[in-house]
């Protein structure tokens, strides 16, 4: 008995020693993104389940260009030269002399293959395109109906795929039309296509044998784009969501994450000497109302709600320093407002600073009064009693909801908050099954008109757009009457991203911003800033004042991948 116990304890001790702490390998960049392991995960990055690695896709399937948000200019990556020609077509000349990890040269054929697959998938970029033409081995011309900033952005932020892998399907797609008999079969073939191994055109390539549920390794691909200017030999991509990667950051095995972390974790990281990097995400939680519910359809009521919520408090309570109160209330981020609106327009905007007196005045102006309990009663004698729903699993949005309800009830509303399962919640909004709700405003996109698609499209009739039947969402009439006249705000949103005349676009954006500011179809609360954990003891990047940190913290244009592709990111001890 004693011997067996001793043996067991010895086994346990030895096994623990097997995991003896070791410092991360030198010259290995430790970052994280969730992925699925094979066979669920695979190397077809066009299909669901593909191991794309999110923004780190740039490291193995490089982008054509990256937008530098601080200047508004694109920095070419695989695209060496790019722009509109005199016929309104978009022309890209690719860098030469680069190769894929399978040895094939990086040429215009890759770009052709990529966009022909997009056509097969029905991607939105083809809404503006009429065709694609290979001019020479490194040049491709995109034929357009009309020039468009949106089309330019979608083209330039595309990640290049290898023709050696996808060329066959792409070529067949190019010969067909969506109405042809074999089209659906070809699409199915694409989604079920499983390349045997990953082929990289970026600075690093995935090593298939290293893929485990814990992490995967990417090795330097010297012939790929930016492969010759890297300071790391390897990249270790840790797998998992926030709760999984948090211990690794605390343990200093993982040195940079883009995962959103709660303020308490942020504080713990800071105590361990880990830097928290904050950059704007151009979106955040807003208070949506169902405009079919009286009196939430009254602009005075929505404005009163805006005045009655201290947005600074709401942001801090919800996400600490990364919950930054929205100032201009234009439906897009303050950063975009400052970039696209004139000083005169900015000065004219109502910032709805916390002011209970103004809220009171607005409600009394439409005939509302308080009852004996201090609760507001509308002109029909009904108390302002509503239910506000929120996705209960989102800690920051839940906090925003609870705080907003508390502030509004202190002012005299009678609102009850109810958490809804996070996957059910958007469906409820799409189906108009709500009175008040916390959903997101804005979009992580530099084109301002796109921010309005949340309020005027996604949460307002998207079901019809997606062919899913009704789905009136928040029941807001997109034909609005404001100080600038009658406009259709959804049409304005789309028109503002068309053409390439920034002055003309700015005029439309101004109409969108001012009308939103006056009518408040939904009430933005705060903008979410990233709280990326960056361990500068291991990674050397510029300090947080560098303009690259103005770049969007997630998805395309991410500052970290931009710094890797430009050869700036390096080991701290270099």
């Amino acid at each position: 008995m004693c011997k067996r116990t001793l043996l067991l304890l010895t086994f346990v001790a030895l096994s623990l020693l097997a995991f003896a702490p070791v410092q991360a390998q030198d010259n290995t960049l430790n970052v994280a993104w969730p992925y699925q392991v094979p066979p669920t995960g695979h190397f077809n990055t066009f299909a669901s389940g593909g191991i794309t690695l999110g923004q780190y896709m740039d490291l193995h399937e490089p982008p054509l260009a990256v937008l530098m948000w601080a200047t508004g200019d694109y920095a070419g990556m695989v695209a060496e030269e790019f722009g509109w020609d005199e016929d309104g077509n978009y022309v890209i000349k690719m860098v030469e002399g680069k190769s894929w990890s399978d040895g094939s040269a990086m040429t215009a054929d890759d770009l052709m293959a990529t966009f022909n697959i997009f056509r097969l998938r029905g991607d939105a970029v083809w809404a503006n395109m009429t065709g694609i033409e290979k001019v020479d081995d490194s040049t491709v011309k995109f034929h357009m109906d009309s020039p468009s900033s949106l089309a330019e952005r979608i083209i330039l932020t595309t990640n290049l795929r290898p023709a050696s892998v996808f060329g066959d399907i792409a070529d067949r797609a190019a010969m067909m039309n969506p109405d042809d008999d074999g089209w659906d079969a070809l699409l199915q073939e694409l989604t079920e296509f499983r390349p045997e191994s990953p082929v990289s055109g970026g600075p690093y390539t995935i090593l298939p044998d290293t893929i485990s549920e814990a992490n995967l390794m990417m090795e330097l691909n010297p012939g790929g784009f930016a492969g010759d200017i890297q300071h790391y030999d390897m990249v270790r991509m840790w797998n998992g969501e926030t709760e999984v990667v948090t211990p690794l950051v605390a343990n200093q095995e993982l040195h940079y994450i883009t995962h959103g972390i709660p303020p308490t974790t942020e504080e713990d990281f800071a105590n361990r000497g880990i830097d928290i990097v904050r950059s704007g995400m151009n979106n955040g939680p807003g208070l949506y109302v169902n405009h079919a519910v009286y009196p939430l359809n009254l602009v005075e009521v929505r404005q009163a709600i805006a005045y009655a919520i201290d947005r600074i408090q709401n942001g801090v309570v919800s996400l600490g320093e990364s919950g930054v109160a929205v100032e201009y209330m234009t439906g897009m981020s303050d950063g975009l407002s400052e970039a696209w609106l004139s000083d005169e327009t900015l000065d004219s905007l109502n910032t709805y600073d916390y002011d209970l007196m103004k809220a009171e005045e607005l409600l009394t102006s439409v005939g509302f009064s308080r009852n004996d309990d201090g609760i507001w009663v509308d002109d029909n004698g009904d108390t302002l009693s509503f239910e506000l729903t929120f996705p209960q699993e989102f800690a920051d949005w839940s906090a925003a909801a609870e705080n907003a309800v508390s502030q509004l009830n202190d002012f005299g509303f009678d609102i009850s908050a109810r958490g809804v399962q996070f996957q059910q919640h958007p469906q409820d909004i799409y189906a108009s099954n709500f009175e008040m709700a916390i959903r997101n405003w804005g979009l992580g996109d530099p084109i301002p008109g796109r921010s309005y698609l949340q309020a005027y499209n996604r949460y307002n009739g998207q079901g019809q757009m997606a062919g899913e039947g009704a789905g009136a969402g928040m029941n807001f009439d997109n034909n609005v009457d404001y100080s600038g006249g009658m406009v259709n705000v959804f049409d304005l949103s789309n028109q503002s991203s068309q053409g390439v005349d920034k002055g003309a676009q700015a005029e439309l954006v101004t109409q969108l911003a001012v009308s939103y500011n006056e009518l408040l179809p939904a009430i933005p609360l705060w903008e979410r800033y990233t709280n990326n954990a960056l361990n500068r003891n291991f990674i050397m990047v510029p300090d947080s004042s560098d303009s690259v940190f103005a770049n969007f913290g997630g998805g395309a244009d991410n500052w970290m991948t931009t710094l890797i592709l430009t050869g700036v990111t390096a080991p701290a001890d270099m």
């Binding site: 392991v37 998938r121 029905g122 991607d123 485990s212 343990n251 979106n283 958007p426 698609l453």
Partner: protein, 367 residues
């Protein structure tokens, strides 16, 4: 054809047709009265009923695979709804709006051919391949944990009963009660935060996964050692979370047996303590726990969900969890089928073995 009382009665003696043929067969060979056959048929019907219920239930969950992936992409990539919808709609070969009856008939027909279908969220990947990828790790880790926990629980429980009211009994009772009260995910987090992060006894990242990357799976020492190392923390967690239950059950069972007359008679006959412990007390006290163990075996597959997520030790539990999150209907159905079959079969095994161990059960069943 007509009875004396005037009631119409069915004369099956000379009738033809499949129903009558079955009736004649059952009259000649009354297998439906056989206990084993009855529990086996019940097991099959139970699996079918649960699978049909699951089929309907998953489709009533909020959102379908298309909706869920759209929301994921919208959250992660900051693109418009239209772009996300276009991309996702082209990725899946399903029609979420197809009638449920048609879907059910398709699924059931495939199931009769033992075809679990292909994943919805990873088109072209067979569900059976995915299950084969994840299942062995859970069987190994949770199965090992269950066996270790059971054996330790039996031994410690008997010791508690034998030395009841002693310091040992009080100490072990306290420990087992504490162990029983702390859920497995708390144990998992404590192990990571304490020995892993605070004391740095082991490398949290290196302990993740089911084996070290780069090794060739097979019967080689390096691979086997790696598998054991990576399973260690999940096994310890499972043992800590379940040991107390076995200890308390065994103590209770042993205490009850110790008061039985035949134990007193054995002592009166002057039999040695060792023989009484092993042949008289231990065997009889452990009998109910073996039934409990065989049922627990069925729950092995579903027991690892949280532990596997905490330690990033992806087995069957993770597969089931991940399938539910993305609403991969075919994957969920495949996983639930395996889970249900395991539970039903373990119960069936318990029924049949209990019948063998205790003839009274078998006889009353046949009556």
């Amino acid at each position: 054809m007509t009875s004396h009382s005037g009631d119409i009665q069915l004369d099956t003696s000379g009738a033809t047709g499949p129903v009558h043929a079955v009736q004649r067969l059952l009259t000649k060979y009354p297998i439906h009265k056989n206990y084993n056959v009855r529990v086996f048929v019940q097991a099959i019907l139970t699996i079918w009923a649960i699978m049909s219920f699951t089929f309907v239930l998953v489709r009533f969950m909020p959102g379908n695979p298309v909706d869920i992936l759209i929301e994921q992409i919208l959250t992660q990539e900051g693109i418009s709804y239209q772009e996300a919808y276009d991309r996702v709609a082209a990725s899946f070969n399903i029609d979420p709006n197809a009638s449920m009856l048609d879907q059910y008939l398709d699924w059931f027909t495939d199931l009769l051919r033992l075809d679990l279908g292909t994943s919805i969220t990873s088109p072209g990947t067979r569900v059976v391949d995915e299950i084969a990828r994840f299942l062995p790790w859970t069987l190994f880790a949770v199965g090992s944990g269950l066996l270790i926990s059971f054996v330790l629980g039996i031994v410690l429980g008997m010791m508690m009963a034998y030395y009841r009211d002693s310091v040992l009994d009080h100490t072990l009772s306290l420990i087992s009660s504490f162990f029983t009260g702390v859920p497995n995910y708390i144990w998992g987090l404590l192990i990571i935060i304490g020995p892993g992060i605070s004391w740095r006894w082991f490398d949290v990242g290196a302990a993740r996964g089911t084996y070290d990357p780069g090794l060739t799976p097979g019967l080689n020492a390096a691979f086997i050692a790696s598998v054991c190392e990576h399973a260690l923390l999940p096994i310890i967690t499972y043992v800590l979370a379940t040991l107390g239950g076995w200890m308390l059950s065994m103590k209770s069972s042993t205490t009850s047996v110790l008061n039985d007359d035949y134990v007193n008679v054995a002592e009166a006959r002057g039999l040695k303590d060792r023989r009484i412990i092993t042949s008289y007390v231990g065997r009889n006290a452990a009998l109910p726990l073996f039934t409990q163990l065989s049922i627990s075996v069925g729950f092995v597959l579903g027991s690892g969900v949280v532990i596997e997520e905490i330690f990033v030790y992806w087995g069957f539990g993770h597969y089931l969890f991940a399938s539910i999150v993305v609403r991969d209907y075919t994957a969920i159905q495949g996983a639930v089928l395996v889970l249900t079959t395991a539970i039903v079969l373990s119960n069936l095994f318990a029924d049949l073995t209990y019948g063998l161990l205790d003839p009274r059960v078998r006889i009353s069943g046949e009556k």
